[in-house]
Amino acid sequence: MLQYVIRRILIVIPLLLALSVLLFLYVHAVPGDPIAGMLGPNGSPELIAQIRADRGLDRPLLEQYADWLAGLFRGDLGVSLLTGQKITPVVIARIPATVQLTLMSLFFTILIGLPAGFVAGRHRGTWIDKVLSPAALLGLSMPVFWIGTLLILVLAVNLHWLPTGGYIPFTQNPARSLQLTFMPAFALGIHLSPFLARMVRATTIELQQEQFVIQASMKGLLPRTITYRYLLRNAIVPVLVILGLQLGTLLGGQVIIEQLFNWPGIGRLLVEGAIQRDYLVVQSLILVIAAVYVIVNLGVEVLHAWLDPRVRL
């Protein structure tokens, strides 16, 4: 197991390195000088050149890249081109908000997707399946910003149940913090759960045709035992793998949702960086997000092996 994890990490490192090169080149190839953009019409060529020199932008690209990379290994994501501030502390400050939103989104995704898919699969072809399956399709086709906007319109604007957006740290006021998390997380949950539901439905249908599930009835086991121990317990494994894969979609959705709900997470930081052409922020953040994605999926694989005794890493 440990050996496997180490081997996987060794594969991941060159992958991330390649990504870093791509990111670096891509971001530098984007037209528009961020410094000129920042200074606007007041930016005299001398001032621009001075700030560029300050930030080290006049150096050869290779040197800049090496510098950035060396920093990354020390956990230093570099400095913002615009403010000259270190990026790492800014990112760290955003982590709690992002983690909170991610966990709550996953919670809603599972809360909606797992039972819906399971019930539809268990009662395949009945009215309940015929209602749930188109509902899932509808959910799949709704863009996340649209779901978010709809929630704001209904829950905040019309019903006044929840504020339209904002964030309070959990440590400061847990109840209020959760209340504020509800809408953005729920929107992401609705966005992600249809896919999960479809996979769970397919898994459940497949499982019910497995000999060991059929045999469970031959043993005279209670329907309850068959549902929990034979079906759900075996469906958990694919669910986990799907959630790991969906993390990418989730992070993408967060970029939009954080914008919509004024949520100060990593996603919003990324958007801010992109709008201001603060490309060091953008390239560092994307790399961090990619690394998180890869690590989480590795974690999922390990968990998978632990939950399914047949898998040996």
Binding site: Q211, F212, Q215, M218, K219, G220, L221, T225, R233, P309
Partner: protein
């Protein structure tokens, strides 16, 4: 013999197909006494496995038992509700199949699998006590290293050990009847022999009856008391192993015994006496269902009666065959097989 343990009367299983209903098992009747091992032999499409499942009331959809009764100690299983039937399955009648691994929950340990069966059949004792009971049963089927294996997962055991676990699971609640559908086919010869002698031993010590569904005549000769030969959804011959093997009365049985009909696999191409596939339920011929392939019918120049009339039999006889010309059959030279 007193009242038989299991008495099946007129059991018919129908499948609802695109071209109407077809009968996979057609009006089958037989009895099994306590502690008896009865072999159910036939080709792949003969309906033998469906009959086994029907006894459990587990015919897969779109099939169903359309008529007949299955009387276990005087109680008609065919008339029970699904919830009542659940309590019978696994406790009074259980099924052991060929691929033991495929029948076990891959994510639960051996001990838990058996413990669940005990619990779900209303055992109110503690989990630890049920585990002990499972362990005792596993020792009885001579699973090695029971204490370690209890905590292992099904795929971690060898094929023979898996089959022992499946047998233990089927036996733990002391059923009166076991339906064993090719339980040893997937195993290698040595293990096969061990499992067979285990089944025989269980039968003798516990008085459990076994319906042994198989295509392997050698196995039947080895462990069965009686044998029923199935062809095209019907039992065509029934009798003690000795009688049937020494004096097969039905041309089909005779063909099986002289090795003319390979039961699994492909029929041999060069056969001129018995050619063709066993018919599918949707196109069973009229009259005697064996007539298109029957060597005796051919020798007798295709008597009219074979094509028009169903041979009827006196099922109360200890040895009978569903053939109009059963008396004409000569004793087969099958001494070696029966011996």
């Amino acid at each position: 013999m007193t009242e038989p343990l299991l008495k099946v009367t007129g059991l018919t299983v129908e499948f609802l197909g695109r071209h109407g209903t077809v009968r996979a098992v057609d009006d089958v009747s037989f009895t099994i006494g306590r502690g008896e091992i009865i072999g159910l032999v036939g080709e792949s499409a003969s309906g033998k496995s469906t009959l086994g499942l029907a006894l459990m009331r587990m015919v897969p959809s779109p099939g169903r038992i359309s008529s007949g009764s299955i009387s276990l100690e005087g109680q008609d299983l065919a008339a029970l509700s699904e919830a009542e039937m659940r309590t019978v399955r696994g406790s009074r009648i259980s099924l052991i199949v060929q691929d033991a691994l495929a029948t076990m929950n891959p994510v639960t340990t051996i001990g838990e699998q058996i413990e669940e069966v005990i619990r779900d059949h209303g055992d109110r004792s503690s989990r630890a006590e049920r585990m002990t009971r499972a362990a005792t049963m596993l020792r009885e089927v001579r699973l090695p290293n029971v204490d370690q294996n209890l905590r292992r997962f099904p795929h971690e055991l060898s094929g023979g050990m898996q089959q022992r676990v499946a047998i233990a699971e089927g036996l733990v609640l002391g059923p009166q009847v076991i339906i064993a559908d090719e339980p040893t086919t997937a195993l290698d010869v040595t293990v096969q022999a061990q499992i067979l002698s285990l089944l025989r031993e269980i039968c003798d010590t516990r008085g459990t009856s076994i319906v042994f569904v198989t295509h392997d005549l050698a196995t039947v000769a080895e462990i069965c008391d009686r044998v029923m030969v199935m062809y095209a959804g019907r039992i065509v011959e029934s009798g003690t192993v000795r009688e049937v093997f020494r004096q097969p009365a039905h041309p089909y049985t005779k063909a099986l015994l002289s090795g003319l009909l390979p039961l699994a696999g492909e029929p041999l191409a060069e056969l001129d006496t018995l050619s063709g596939q066993p018919p599918r339920p949707e196109d069973w011929p009229t009259g005697c269902r064996f007539h298109p392939r029957c060597p005796l019918g051919e020798a007798l120049d295709h008597p009219e009666i074979c094509m028009t009339d169903d041979p009827h039999v006196d099922e109360s006889q200890p040895h009978w065959a569903a053939c109009h010309f059963a008396e004409l059959q000569q004793p087969a030279l099958t001494e070696e097989v029966a011996g």
